[in-house]
């Protein structure tokens, strides 16, 4: 008997290799992806009882090819059928599984014509080797809904006629940016749906890290990929301290830093330091650099806030994102005092509207400035506009503490 978790890990690592081999050979991404999915399901239902076959990769490839053959046999295109029949007859031992396959698949799945809502599940299935059921559970949606979302995504990729090859040098930068964006959102999704009560659920943040490691290994000179990996590791290092026993949010300031994962911090710091030494200056690298400053600070008060404020200033110029300005205002307040931070928030409401984070940051700075009554009002506005239960609980607690005085 092989424990199911071992089987799952093995399948996840083999799936992109099998899919890569099939797509290279038959050129039909959508049909090959279905066939691989069926082979994975066959493996996960038989391997735990019968044991893993001697050559698991060959086993999976054989089953997937048979399923693909069945698919074409039942289709009407006689010519395709005959061509394929000829190709099955040969059955040569083909060269399988180099890490480029995963990368090519990733470039296909994170195609710019797909929204992240479609690209994330497709990537998890094709490159991550997860089953539709696992992905549906991770996103808390019914399996049928997720199956439909994935099949529509594949139809979109098919219609876009992306060839199964690495994009040319000119397309590569833009496509890599899409891949990194999808992985970034996948990681965040894991944070958002994280729940302590369901340990059986696939952890999207861990999947995102695993896939990002793959991209980084395939493209070690792409500094934004390195930056993203560093950012994920440095953020993940704080995960054990980020929520309390009931899943409640614990802000950075109150986290027990002894619970931070030192090994992840060390790994992330090495990655981002090397990157910056080469003169890197991308969005993920800057975010990772900020995370590294936090992770290396002994306490909240002893954090190098001047450096964080400067990094946020660079990030603000690069992205023009008002949420970055909110974070910068907090850092500036720590260096120059709360009034300086509040000044930065003037006019930002035009761009952010009644966003609860704007009210929460303003409340926090007003509290720092000793204006408890204004802080109280802003916290109430923040709680009323919150769209995340854990944040709302936290804001209500702040209100209660302020009221007590």
């Amino acid at each position: 008997m092989t424990p199911a978790s071992t089987t799952d890990g093995l399948l996840a690592s083999l799936a992109p290799q099998v899919l890569g081999a099939l797509v290279r050979r038959f050129g039909d991404f959508a049909a090959a992806e279905d066939a691989v999915q069926e082979a994975l399901i066959a493996a996960s239902s038989t391997w735990p009882d019968n044991g893993v076959p001697d050559e698991p990769l060959a086993w999976l490839t054989r089953v997937a090819r048979r399923r693909l053959a069945d698919h074409y046999r039942s289709s009407d295109a006689r010519q395709t059928r005959e061509e394929l029949a000829a190709s099955w007859a040969i059955e040569p031992p083909e060269p399988l599984g180099d890490s480029d396959d995963s990368l090519i698949l990733m470039f296909m799945c994170c195609h710019p014509s797909l929204t992240a809502t479609s690209a994330i599940p497709l990537t998890l299935r094709a490159v991550g080797g997860l089953t539709t059921r696992e992905i549906a559970a991770a996103f808390l949606v019914p399996e049928a809904t997720m199956a439909q979302r994935i099949s529509r995504a594949k139809a979109t990729v098919k219609a876009s006629a992306v060839p199964f090859e690495l994009p040319t040098a000119t397309d590569r930068a833009a496509r890599l940016a899409s891949v990194l964006h999808v992985l970034y959102l996948m990681y965040n999704e894991g944070y958002a749906t994280m729940s302590g009560s369901d340990l059986a659920r696939v952890d999207l943040s861990n999947e995102a890290i695993r896939l990002t490691v793959g991209v980084h290994e395939a493209l070690p000179d792409e500094r934004e990929a390195t930056g993203l990996l560093a950012l994920m590791l440095l953020t993940d290092a704080r995960r054990p301290a980020r929520s309390g026993p009931a899943g409640e949010l614990i802000p950075l300031e109150q986290q027990d830093r002894s619970r931070w994962n030192r090994a992840l911090i060390a790994e992330g710091v090495v990655l981002i330091t090397d990157c910056l030494r080469q003169g890197g200056l991308g969005e993920y690298q800057l975010q990772a650099a900020i995370a590294a400053v936090h992770d290396q600070a002994p306490t909240h008060a002893a954090t190098n806030w001047a450096e964080i404020a400067a990094l946020y200033r660079l990030l603000e110029r690069m992205t023009a994102n008002p949420m970055v300005t909110l974070n910068r205002a907090v850092a500036v307040a720590m260096v120059e005092g709360p009034r300086a931070g509040l000044d930065l928030l003037d006019g930002i409401g035009d761009r952010l509207g009644d966003h609860h984070r704007l009210h929460a940051v303003r409340a926090h700075l007003l509290e720092m400035a000793g204006d408890r009554s204004a802080a109280f009002d802003e916290f109430r506005l923040a709680a009323a506009n919150a769209t995340n239960r854990r944040e709302r609980d936290y804001l209500n607690l702040k209100i209660a503490v302020l009221r007590r005085g």
Binding site: A246, E248, A383, N385, D393, L397, A400
Partner: protein
Amino acid sequence: MRFMLAMNYGGVESDCPMMSEWSPEDIGAHIEFQHVLNDELTRSGELLDAQGLSGPEQAKFVVSDGVNAPVVTDGPFPESKELLAGYRIVEVETLERAIEIAAQMSAAPAFEGKPIQQRIEVRQIMGAPEPEV
């Protein structure tokens, strides 16, 4: 049998004030209670979904005749108390069990540790017709 156990912003049948008036300990105990209840219902295999909704300030009402631009009304509304605040969806063997869970929800600890006595709406979710034999 599937039931939606829903609560709205009004319907508190005690003199419990708004949560913004509670002490931090009261709020903590309330959150802990919800967490434990969800855990119990997950372990018993009865919980299908549990969601809290964002506040009335974020709510929008949409009416459309399918031809003209839809009429969208922004919150907050004078009748906010009637808006849905959150729900659990459970799958249970009997109506009695659904009522038992609703009673637990209604007695959640609140202001000064006293039960909130929130009115819980127990509504059966309509299913497919029974298969013909």
